[in-house]
Structures are given as structure tokens and as C-alpha cells.
């Protein structure tokens, strides 16, 4: 059983200006432990697809099973619980809470999971250690660089040990060197078994994945496996 199974997944927006088919009969399986890059031109439905498999949005057609759960059958609270336990999000704009330090930001998903304070502290510190930011635990987002902020966001996404990490343009706001570091982190996490789906415009970023899915006008036009470049190999090059 694949981690993600979509069958004829569709999303239609009914606007005053007319019908917009953002996603058109998408049927895909994504296996556990895979690293998938989703690419395609602007408006092709990449974010729409991510929002659907991230349980932030509901499809207007088709079926979606996440880790065997039929998502259509869940109510708002059920979706919230699923997002909390099974999915970690990484955003282009980091979306950290500005008033709270790195540790507090990483703790956030565990608050809704109902962990006590002590457990939250421990696990958040552990997650920050995993992204190499243990010593920045008490810095606020404003006191961190863009790359560091994105690491905090990744720690937050990982802290509840989700089965799926979703990243929509995670390197979009970073320079190429920092972007490479973040991609290296993703690859490392992937090697440790985290399933990753990543949206990008950047072909260079897309080359870090094991599988590449290309969207156009809400449909999948290309789906192939590839030999990924290793972010570690690019480090000296980018440093020049």
C-alpha cells in the first residue's frame, strides 16, 4: 500500500468569472520513503495538489487515501488530527510565530497533540538538534537568518514524527547556497526514512529528488524516476 493514493483527484473553483479547473483527474501513488519533486509552470496546480494531499483543502472529485485513511470521510476535527499526526508542512515564507523563540515554534504542533510541557521541551530540542540549531533554541525568528528560520520550520514539521513532509517552494526565499543546505537537510532526512514531497519552479532544486512529477493545466504530464544529485557534492562548488 502506497503512503499516498489519489484516484481521479480533482479540484474545481467556481468563481463568478467562471469555472477554474485547478486539478484535473490526478491519479498518483507515492510510496513511503520516496522523495518527490513536483514541478510545472505557474498556475499548473502544484499548490492545489499539495493542499489536497496535505488535508488543508477538500477535493471536488475523486478519492484520496493517506496511509490507508480515506480522507473524504473525515470532518474538520479529523482533518486537523491527521495534519497534526501525519503531515509536516514547510512553507516558502517559513511562517514562524515572531513572538516565540525557536523552541516555542517547534513545540507548536505538540501543543495540539496534547503533550505535556516537559515532553515538548525535550522533543523540540531534539528536533532542533536534528536540523543543527540546538544552540539557537532561545533565539526569536527575527534573530535568525533565512536559512536558520527555514531549519526551525523543518524542525517544527518533523517534531510529531509525521509520515509525510510537504514543502511548497521551501527554497524560494533563500539564496542558492542556503537553498542547497536546506536541500541537503531534506536528503538527509529522506535517507533517515522521511517521505518528502517538494514543489519547486527551479529545475536545479528538482534534481535533488528521486522522482519528478510535472504538472500542466492541472494534469500530470510527466512522471519519472531520476538519479538525484547529492547536495553534499554541490557544497564546495556553491561556496566559490
Amino acid at each position: 500500500m502506497a503512503l499516498i493514493e489519489t484516484r481521479d483527484l480533482g479540484r474545481v473553483y467556481n468563481l463568478d468569472a467562471g469555472r477554474v479547473v485547478a486539478l484535473d483527474h490526478v491519479s498518483l501513488d507515492i510510496e513511503k520513503g520516496d522523495f518527490v519533486a513536483v514541478m510545472g509552470p505557474s498556475g499548473s496546480g502544484k499548490s492545489t495538489f499539495m493542499n489536497l494531499i496535505g488535508c488543508l483543502d477538500r477535493p471536488t472529485g475523486g478519492q484520496y487515501r493517506l496511509a490507508g485513511t480515506a480522507v473524504e470521510s473525515l470532518d474538520a476535527d479529523g482533518l486537523a488530527t491527521l495534519r497534526n499526526r501525519e503531515i509536516g508542512f514547510v512553507f516558502q515564507q517559513f511562517n514562524l510565530l515572531p513572538r516565540v523563540d525557536a523552541l516555542g515554534n517547534v513545540e507548536l504542533p505538540m501543543i495540539y497533540a496534547g503533550y505535556d510541557r516537559k515532553t515538548r521541551r525535550e522533543r523540540a530540542l531534539q528536533a532542533l538538534g536534528r536540523v543543527g540549531l540546538a544552540e539557537r533554541a532561545h533565539h526569536r525568528p527575527m534573530q535568525l537568518s533565512g536559512g536558520q528560520q527555514q531549519r526551525v520550520a523543518i524542525a517544527r514539521a518533523l517534531v510529531n514524527s509525521p509520515s509525510l513532509l510537504l514543502a511548497d517552494e521551501p527554497t524560494g526565499a533563500l539564496d542558492s547556497r542556503t537553498a542547497n543546505e536546506i536541500l541537503g537537510l531534506f536528503q538527509e532526512l529522506n535517507r533517515e526514512g522521511v517521505t518528502i514531497v517538494l514543489v519547486t519552479h527551479d529545475a536545479e532544486v528538482g534534481r535533488h529528488a528521486h522522482r519528478l512529477i510535472r504538472f500542466k493545466d492541472g494534469r500530470v504530464i510527466e512522471d519519472r524516476r531520476q538519479e538525484p544529485v547529492d547536495a553534499r557534492d554541490l557544497v564546495p562548488e556553491a561556496a566559490e
Binding site: 493542499n51 496535505g54 488543508l56 483543502d57 474538520a76 476535527d77 486537523a80 488530527t81 495534519r83 497534526n84 499526526r85 508542512f89 512553507f91 511562517n95 510565530l97 513572538r99 516565540v100 507548536l108 504542533p109 501543543i111 495540539y112 497533540a113 510541557r117 517544527r156 510529531n160
Partner: protein, 409 residues
Amino acid sequence: MRLIEAIRSALSAITANALRSLLTMLGIVIGVAAVIAMVAIGSGARNLVDQQIRSLGANLAIVTPGNVTQGGARLGAGQASTLTNEDAEAIRHEVDGVVAAAPFVQGYAHVVAGGSNWGTRIYGIDLDWFSAREWDVADGRTFDPEEIRRGDIVVILGQTVARNLFSEEDPIDQIVRVRNVPFRVIGVMAPKGQSAFGQDQDDVIFVPLDAGRRRVIGRNYAKDGSVGSVFVKFANEEDIEPGIESMTELLRQRHRIMGEEDDFSIRNLTEIANTASASANTLSMLLAAVAAVSLLVGGIGIMNIMLVSVTERTREIGLRLAVGARPRDILSQFLIEATTLSTIGGALGVGLGAGAAYLVAQLAGWPSLVSTNAIILAVGFSALVGIFFGFYPAQRAARLDPIEALRRE
């Protein structure tokens, strides 16, 4: 999320915008402060009236000559009083529920002892006075019935007079001269303190009724046995109204009044007290209503700022939803924030109001009364204001669509 943690995070949201939060709270602070201060001052005033009446004596009516309802006609100097001690005697014996009927005359005189001299009020009284006023001697003794009957020239001093004339010396059996009449001091009254109007009630001397009439106060009292007024004390509060009716009947008969205006009037002092405290009540109710309006305005202020806050923090809400917050988690977060805000405002208001009440009480010389009930009520009510006015903004936050919220700048 546990409540304490929710409150802690609400506090951090509130302190993040300290000035704005403070300004938002101001409506609640002022409203609660007004309620607390008004209730405290109102009950202080009411207590004052009660205390004043109590210091006069409970269940008391006063019979005065002349008809007060007739344009407040009062007895002028030299005019004969229509009230006599026989009237008092009759009231004492014939009206049900009467414990004491104390006729008295009063005047003002200089008291001389040795080299000292002191101007004070002088009362001519009989033995009923002590039970009517619930006031007794502290040193020496009261008059004996014979002294009252004969009108002996003996005197009981108030504390203030005793102190001023004799300081440390024992005044008992000393001679004081009033209008050149030598009175022998037989007792000193217990201290009574200030009256509600700041009058020193211990600045007074008492002599037997007849001695007062003949030797000191004079006027026409001596000729016809008339008295200034009569205090009538009843056993129970319920006896007063029927008692006043039968007194009126009795005095009309005795004064042979048929049809024309009464030549006396009777006032129920307990009723006066009740009226006074009722109007104090009305006043504080009115002020409380004004304060409630101010609380309402404060609540609207909170609603306004919470709506702003929800708009400002739309992305935060989107993120919380994305990481697994349920709509009801968001609802309770903002509800708790609004309630924390209003409750802190309420607590500040209690402090401010209690301070103001204390100040007023100090200035007016009243007992300061901020009751625990009023505090609990005020803080509880401000919490309710927060819940009520915070609900709509919180619901708006909880109903946000996570994708749209995350996309919002």
C-alpha cells in the same frame, strides 16, 4: 491545550502589545473602578446614616411641639410649648409597645468650675432618657427618682465637658456653676463619640428636667410644665407605626384638638433612616447603571481590538490550523485572550476603585467598605464581558479557511 498554558500564551500575546492592550482595557478598568467606588461609597454613606440613627437609639420616635407640616412652623423663643411631661407620662402608660418616653428641654449654657469655664449644650431630662438613648454613665451614678421628682441641682457631665473642666481630676462630687447655680456633679456619661455630622456628642451636660426648667433654661417651661420634645422608644420596630397612631390619638384628646391642625408632630426616626438609606441605595443603583454602560463600552472596545488582532494574526491562525489546531482550539485561544484581557482590566479596576473609595472615605471620615462580594462580582462580570464580546472575533478566527489564512499577507 491546557487552560493555564492557554492563559500564559494569552498573556504573552497581551504583553506583546502592552500599550494597545492597556488602552483596550481602559474601558473595563474605568467601568469596574466606577462600580467598585460607587458601591463602596454608597454603602459607606448608608452605614453612616445607620450608625447615626443607631447612635440616637433604635426604634425611636420623636414628638415635637408645633406642626412641622405647617410650613415647618417651629416654636419661637418665649413661645409656650404645647407639650408637657404629663403628655410624656400618658404616652408611657397608655401606648402599647412603648418602653420609654423621655421628655426633655435643651439649651446652651456656660459651665464654670474653679477657674475653668466651658460653653456646652445642657439637657433637662428624666430617667427615661437613658433607656431611650441607650446611653449610660461611666463614672458615678445616674439621677435617682427622688432627684428627678424634686428637681435637685445635680449634674451629669459628658466626657468632653468633664475633661475640659477637670482634666485629670475626678469630677465626682465637685461643684460646677451653671448660670450661677451650683450643681453637684454625680456622674460622667460614657463616651459616645462624634455624630454623623461631626458634632461632638460628648460635649453636653445633663440635669434633672425640673432643675433645667426652673434654674437654667427658663423661658416659659417653668410655668406650665411644658417640655421641648419627647423621645419615645418602642420595644420593636413593628410597634412604631401603630404606636405613632395611638400617640397622635392620645395627644389630640389631651390637647382637645377637634378638626383643626395638630399642635404637635411625631416623626419616626427609624423611618427617616430607612428613607435616607433607600435614597442612598437609589443613588448607588443609578451610578451602578452608569458604570454598567461604561463596562459595555469597554466590552465593545475589546471586541474591536480582538477583531483587529484576528485580522493581524490571520497567518498565525492559518499556521496553527496547518499544524493541527482544531477550529475549537482557535476559538478558545481567542476567547481566552479576550477574557484574560477583560479580567486583568477588571482587576485593575477593582484596585483603582478601591483606592478611590478609600480616599473618599478618608476625606469624608466614613468607614471604607469594599466588600469581597463586590470584588468577586466585578471581576466575574468583567470576565463575562470578555467572553461575551470576545466570542464573535474568536468565532471569526475559528472559521478561517487554513489555505486562505496562510496566503494572507
